[in-house]
């Protein structure tokens, strides 16, 4: 039925008018600082500032490490979301709370925790050191720190999509003879692809902006661990114009990434999540058809 309730422009919304005032204030709180920053940009010097060697190095490092941590989030986040949404085991609620912890934890604290795990004197660090592997203050540390803070975004988004989708398609697939691996590959993942995509985008954006955990755990070595946010913070001390210009670059990258793949709150994936019983009414079928059409090859019309 969700699909049948498209908002018609001018239709009754039920929103009290003072809500619009509050909403406008909220929007201003986000937009005004951005505008103030844009106003401060030294435009004649903009290009030289953002193309300086240290800036480009930092930007490149940021994009590379964020891409790597997004991949890591996908690889680790899909199984986590699956067992949280579909599994049933003791300690499930506790696990969910801990997986979501980085969302509310100050990143600096996350960085310290990572340091005491992978650092030279850390829980795993000492054993890794023996094997000749040093993680702290390396590019790997940047990726780990970013994954640490970004993973919950993917897990939350995907778990929600999995719950909305329910397990009925999977049950049917199993009775048709598909083993669990096949069901995951051919049914579950394609069905939750929108949720996975928006989760991955959020993770990427969060990785791109990561500062506290990175600084604590990975330090600020140019070309190795100094990502764009760190570079901006450093430049602010010496060259405010450069900091503002780079901030604008970061905003632009973040906005374009989010705009590219995140199209607002999604409806459940197209297809039948019915309206049990009354599914035969012409109205809902027509609505279902319109939602599914963009996904097809467009050979209906």
């Amino acid at each position: 039925m969700n699909t049948g309730l498209h908002r018609i422009p001018g239709a009754y919304t039920g929103i009290p008018s003072w809500i619009y005032v509050m909403a406008a204030l909220g929007a201003l709180l986000v937009l005004l600082p951005l505008a103030a920053m844009v106003a401060k940009v030294n435009w004649p010097q903009f290009v030289p500032l953002v193309t300086s060697e240290s800036s480009l190095t930092a930007l490149g490092l940021s994009l590379r490490t964020s891409a790597a941590s997004t991949v890591l989030c996908i690889v680790l986040g899909i199984p986590l979301a699956l067992v949280l949404a579909r599994g049933s085991f003791p300690g499930q609620r506790l696990l969910r709370s801990f997986v979501l912890l980085p969302l509310v934890l100050p990143p600096v604290v996350g960085g310290i925790a990572l340091l005491y795990t992978f650092g030279r004197q850390g829980l795993l660090g000492r054993s890794l050191e023996v094997l000749g592997i040093q993680i702290a203050f390396s590019t790997t540390a940047v990726v780990l720190a970013q994954t640490f803070v970004a993973l919950p975004f993917l897990v939350v988004s995907l778990e929600g999509t999995l719950r909305t989708a329910g397990g009925r398609y999977e049950a049917v697939a199993a009775t048709l003879g598909a083993r669990p691996g096949t069901v995951l590959r051919r049914v579950t993942l394609p069905l939750v692809l929108p949720g996975l995509a928006s989760g991955a985008v959020l993770s990427f954006a969060r990785s791109l902006g990561e500062f506290g955990a990175t600084l604590t755990f990975a330090g600020s070595l140019q070309g190795v661990t100094r990502t764009l946010p760190l570079e901006i913070y450093l430049q602010r001390e010496t060259d405010a114009d450069a900091a503002v210009a780079l901030s604008l670059v970061l905003v632009a990258v973040a906005v374009s990434v989010v705009a590219l793949s995140y199209r607002g709150p999604r409806r459940p994936p197209p297809g039948p999540f019915p309206d049990a019983g009354s599914g035969a009414s012409g109205g809902s079928r027509a609505a279902r058809r319109t939602t599914a059409a963009p996904a097809s090859h467009g050979n209906v019309q």
Binding site: L176, A178, G271, S296
Partner: protein, 352 residues
């Protein structure tokens, strides 16, 4: 060569045992919450019963006992499930949906598509192969779902109210289609519709409160209902009570005279029995009617509703059919007290 099941699920008060022959279609009927869907979930392996066992042609599907526990995963069972909603995978074309079963069982892409085309033709949906599920009508989608279930070559086909979500025009088409494809096949179909049971099933099993209450060839069960639920399905009035020399005495102490069926000799008075009569055999009077072979008792009208070209007069659990003219003449209205009069000859009496 049969399917045999015995299973109990304590949490749902479910305890059922049944068998299905190699080419037999069994209809499962029962009120909501009777455990019909639980039954299919247990067979398909989507729900673990607390105890019991099931096997199909000697293959053990599960065996839950204190000493031994065997559990076959759903994808090994060969029990394709067709639900009320078609549940076609929205991201696959119709052809890929139908090819899903064979492909999952290891057929090559080419073979799987060949099988899929065969079954799409069998359900008269070959022209839909290239479409996405979102572009199908409810009836088309359910036909494709039938093809998908059959393409998996199930040893036991499970149908959970396959017609329930269809509109009145699509249902008859699918019913005819199912009649054709279920003919030589072992299947269990849950339905609320007597027509499905009559047309599609060799046998009907009535499930009430998690237990089988009636079972037998569809015609016989409908002709001789023993529970109020089946009587309702068959459109008959049923009064349960104990058998007497002349008929049945209801729990409320009302005597109903009728024809013992079969011969009175086998009936022992005092045994539990039922009196069954069609609403058309019930006349409605404003005053008590007299005449020897009649039953006459006061009732309070609860509802009046159109029923074909008659008016159905409901009084609690009994109903009578009268013509609209008679209803108007008598000035029938809910809340009125009237007399239901039934000829003894129209009442069948038999043990419950």
């Amino acid at each position: 060569m049969t399917f045999r099941l015995e299973a109990a699920v304590a949490a749902r008060g479910f305890d059922v045992s049944l068998t299905v022959g190699p080419q037999e279609t069994v209809a499962i009927m029962g009120p909501n919450g009777a455990g019909k869907s639980t039954l299919l979930a247990v067979i398909a392996g989507l729900l673990h019963p607390d105890s019991g066992s099931a096997e199909v042609d000697g293959r053990v599907l599960f065996h839950q006992a204190a000493d031994r526990s065997v559990w076959m995963a759903p994808h090994h069972r060969g029990t394709a499930l067709l639900a009320q909603e078609p549940l076609l995978f929205p991201h696959l074309t119709v052809l890929e949906n139908v090819a899903f079963g064979p492909r999952s069982r290891g057929a090559s892409r080419h073979e799987a598509r060949k099988t899929a085309r065969h079954w799409l033709r069998a359900v008269e949906a070959a022209e839909l192969s290239g479409r996405r599920p979102g572009e199908l009508s409810g009836g088309q989608a359910q036909r494709v779902a039938v093809a998908r279930a059959l393409a998996a070559d199930p040893e036991l086909l499970l149908l959970d109210e396959p017609m329930a979500a269809l509109d009145i025009h699509a249902a008859p088409l699918l019913r005819r289609l199912l009649k054709r494809v279920l003919a030589e096949r072992r299947a269990i179909i849950i339905t609320h519709d007597v027509l499905d049971a009559l047309m599609l099933a060799d046998r009907v099993i009535v499930l009430e409160g998690g237990r089988i209450t009636e079972s037998g060839p569809t015609r016989e069960v409908l002709q001789r209902p023993r529970s109020r639920f089946v009587a309702g399905l068959a459109g008959l009035n049923l009064v349960a009570g104990t058998l007497t020399e002349r008929g049945v005495r209801s729990a409320a102490g009302q005597d109903i005279a009728g024809q013992h069926d079969p011969t009175p000799a086998v009936l022992a008075p005092g045994q539990e029995g039922v009196a069954v009569f069609p609403p058309s055999a019930v006349s409605v009077f404003l005053t008590e009617a007299h005449g020897s072979p009649r039953n006459s008792f006061p009732v309070t009208i609860t509802d009046l509703e159109p029923h074909g070209d008659q008016i159905r007069v409901r009084a609690g659990e009994l109903s009578a059919d009268v013509t609209p003219a008679a209803s108007a003449d008598l000035g029938l209205a809910p809340g009125m007290t009237v007399f239901f009069v039934i000829k003894a000859g129209a009442v069948s009496v038999y043990p419950a």
